[in-house]
């Protein structure tokens, strides 16, 4: 447990993805079975036991420490698990009788079978046996709040690296594996064959598109491609299959292969035909696709209430068919898969699942027009949910990753405004010596006259060279410092104008300006433009469409 805790501790501080991978792979290499398998399960969220409530942890510490001292400490530290881990006074044990600290395996297997009434005493024993970091990790684990910035995908990639395998391979067999993954590690270490995925509804690595540039069109023949709308939802893979007894198992995966079925129980009954659909998850109300902001209310929910399901009805819009019953269709050309898809959707005949229409075109000019005005080109009232168009080669098989020349995405032009840099903050990791997080604002009329009001924050979009330039500008034009934040000069004639590109806008009561941007990034530095000529809040307000008020669920 202490070694696992050490890993979590190190991961919690490490900002770089590659370094995180190395730390995890290093752990897998160093630690034997079955501990490393349970660690992989913890990192991928694959452990299941009843979590301890914070109240239980509070009771445990209250029995061991002075209430005032605990209160002062908790105030200072700000995190319950950490406070308890740090100040836990070990029970006075005879020196020769100290039991060794529990292994991760012992903790996980015990928690699985432990009765509720036995939990407090067991936790107390472990807290006595572990060191500070071990206690912290134990409490994070038992309260189900690991939160160390590691995705399941990252942990699987680290495991794959142990055997120099492609993470996709691990992803493919993953749904059939169970902790502590002895067969997986045996294969990764070359001691055994690759485990066979017996899962009736496995994930298939996703095919992705390249962003198309103007120059690319010249080399492309419109006749080779099928176009379809790119919907502004989340890309998913909906898979159904029969288990040994002939029962249907259905699963929904994110594009990285994370199983997100639990968040969308309302879609499961609709996945009753064996097959694998590549599609977009959307919210439909009265047949109309809702904005991404509305869909967001359904994302990352652990508990899905009936109210949420009713007010945010989920919908799958199908792009592609990767499997039809027992048949793997991925080797077939797209045009053929598309036909199979149309038949599959027709046979399924479910109101929650429909076909994403193709966009007819015979020249790039025609497609440009359709992309510019999706409403008139078939998207109708759903045009606002169209993010752009997708181009797929008629003869392209379904290939994992981002193969060249097969699929192209052609997004609608982003919204652009000119805003003024107001505050800058230091970045993290490699950027910790650079002012790389920028808050920018636009002009508005207030009781104090013309003022800049912050409308967003961006920390990418610029080149390394531009980062150096902005960093230099920030250091030379700081008016005030607040900890890591610098106020940068922003007056009518003094300051830096940033061209900001963004994908959408929504009302936000949390922001002073009342608006929040989606995916803002710096697209250009306007050294040539005086701040007085930057955009005004009214411009943004005009862009806001009357959207139904968000419902708090």
């Amino acid at each position: 447990m202490n070694r696992f805790a050490e890993l979590l501790d190190r991961l919690a501080y490490e900002p770089g993805r590659n370094n995180k991978l190395r730390l995890i792979t290093g752990y897998f290499r160093e630690v034997g079975d079955p501990d490393r398998g349970y660690a992989l399960a913890a990192l991928t969220g694959a452990l299941s036991f009843k979590h301890a409530k914070p109240a239980l942890i509070r009771d445990l510490i209250a029995a061991r420490t002075d209430e005032v001292l605990f209160g002062l400490s908790y105030d200072y530290v700000g995190d319950l698990s950490e406070t308890v881990a740090l100040m836990w006074p070990k029970a006075a044990l005879a020196a020769h009788n100290n039991p060794p600290p529990p292994s991760l395996t012992e903790v996980v297997t015990t928690l699985r079978t432990l009765g509720k009434t036995e939990l407090p005493r067991q936790l107390e024993r472990w807290l006595d046996e572990l060191d500070e970091t071990g206690r912290w990790a134990l409490l994070k684990l038992v309260t189900g709040a690991l939160r160390i910035g590691i995705s399941a995908r990252l942990a699987k990639t680290a495991a794959a690296a142990l055997g120099d395998k492609d993470p996709h391979e691990v992803e493919l067999i993953w749904p059939g594996l169970v902790p502590p993954y002895l067969d997986l590690f045996a294969w990764l270490e070359g001691r055994d064959d690759k485990p066979v995925n017996r899962d009736p509804a496995p994930f298939r690595p996703v095919m992705l598109a390249h962003a198309i540039e103007d120059a690319d069109f010249a080399a492309l023949d419109p006749a080779d491609y099928i176009a379809e709308w790119k919907w502004d939802g989340i890309r998913v893979q909906a898979v159904a299959g029969r288990d040994e007894r002939g029962h249907i198992t259905a699963r929904l995966y994110s594009r990285t292969g994370e199983d997100i079925t639990g968040s969308f129980p309302d879609l499961v009954p609709s996945l009753r035909l064996p097959g694998a659909i590549d599609g977009e998850l959307l919210i439909l109300r009265e047949g109309r696709v809702q904005s991404f902001n509305v869909l967001q209310q359904r994302l990352n929910r652990k508990v899905v209430s009936p109210k949420l399901i009713k007010e945010f009805p989920i919908h799958l819009r199908a792009y592609d068919l990767l499997g039809d019953d027992e048949n793997d269709l991925r080797e077939l050309p797209f045009a053929e898969r598309r036909e199979r898809l149309e038949r599959f959707i027709a046979k399924l005949d479910d109101p929650r699942i429909d076909l994403s229409p193709t966009v007819p075109f015979d020249s790039w000019e025609a497609l440009t027009a359709a992309r510019g005005d999706p409403a008139s080109a078939g998207a109708g009232e759903d045009a606002d949910a169209v993010e752009g168009v997708m181009l797929k080669r008629r003869d392209a098989p379904y290939l994992p990753g981002r193969p060249k020349g097969q699929w192209w995405k052609w997004k609608r032009d982003p919204h652009i405004i000119d805003a003024v840099l107001m505050y800058a903050q230091r970045g993290h990791g490699k950027r910790s010596s650079y002012y790389s997080d920028y808050t920018f604002g636009v002009w508005t009329e207030t009781e104090n006259g013309e003022e800049l009001v912050p409308v967003g924050k961006a920390y990418f979009g610029f080149t390394d060279e531009e980062l150096l330039q902005i960093d230099r500008f920030v250091r030379r034009n700081t008016t005030e410092k607040f900890g890591p934040v610098r106020h940068v000069v922003h007056e009518a004639d003094k300051g830096l104008v940033l061209e900001v590109a963004f994908e959408g806008l929504q009302r936000s009561p949390r922001h002073k300006s009342g608006v929040a941007m989606r995916f803002p990034r710096i697209s250009r530095l306007r050294w040539d433009k005086p701040p007085r000529e930057a955009d005004r809040l009214e411009t943004l307000e005009k862009m806001l469409k009357a959207e139904p008020a968000e419902i708090e669920v």
Binding site: R10, V77, E132, S432, S433
Partner: protein
Amino acid sequence: MRGSSPRMTASFEAPTSYITTMRPQDILLPNAAGLCCKPGGFHIDPVRPVERAVITHGHSDHARAGHGAVLATQETLDMMRLRYGENFAGSTQAIRYGEEIRLGDVKVKFHPAGHVLGSAQIAVSCKDTCIVASGDYKDAPDPTCTPFELVPCDVFITEATFGLPVFRHGDASDEVKKLLASVALFPERAHLVGAYSLGKAQRVIKLLRQAGYDAPIYLHGAMETITHYYQSRGIDLGELKPVKGMKKAALAGTITLAPPSATSDLWTRRFPDPVTAFASGWMRVRARARQRGVELPLVISDHADWGGLTATIAATGAGEIWVTHGQEDALVHWCRSKGLKAQPLDLVGYGDEEESETPIPGEAEA
């Protein structure tokens, strides 16, 4: 500028007078300049220029320039001289550990505090009452200074920098092992260890050497003077090199010590993909480490942790505890729960040395 006030030349042979009953606060009492000993005619670690100052240790929030006469250990005086120049005080007098001298109506005796090289607790006795002003102290082993000595007394003045039960520092050599494990794991990256330039840096270097690390250790310019002073006092720190002028690629796999403020500065751009470490007791708390952007927190402290503070307080046998600079509330509460008389002592101007550290000219971007 510090030290620009008129200097008073004073000596430590003041006339004595006869006082009958002494309450502790008649012996030592805080005033605007710091902890004042009226019957002895001096201040301990004054934050403003005074006529006569008795200094516990060389950290700049305790040892300031511009006093008339200064009484301190030879090491503390040397460090003040290195930091502020030859004329940092009107006159100086060195005192050894265990040595006692009379100042006015009181006797003053210096005892090792275990905080940094030359650090002392100051026992002030008047009649039958003994007060120990411990300055900053730690009861943990440190290969670069004389170990802390427990001084029985009636009133113990304790710091409370880490005065919360969440602060437990553990074994510093284990933290150094963590650093070495990271260096082994990331041989293409530079490791940048933030450490206060007086005491902490030398202790980390010495611990690295004790752990068997014998490669050259690199120093930020601001580290050099004090570190060389430690070496001149017979503390073997192995091969040390200035980092200035080194090629970026050559710093892969190396360890460099720098003042904490430098580890998030422009200065770090000379290192290949640096891992930022920070050696401090504050690193026990995650939020503190994250605030600073630290990737490798090393819990190594020059101060006593909660266990050290409470054990020391109990062991002095003092019936009255004055608690200063830090988390006074929790420590005062603990003392009272043990039946000890305790109160916070309202002294201002002490804290992390870093905040008040005087930059060495020309080193700001070094």
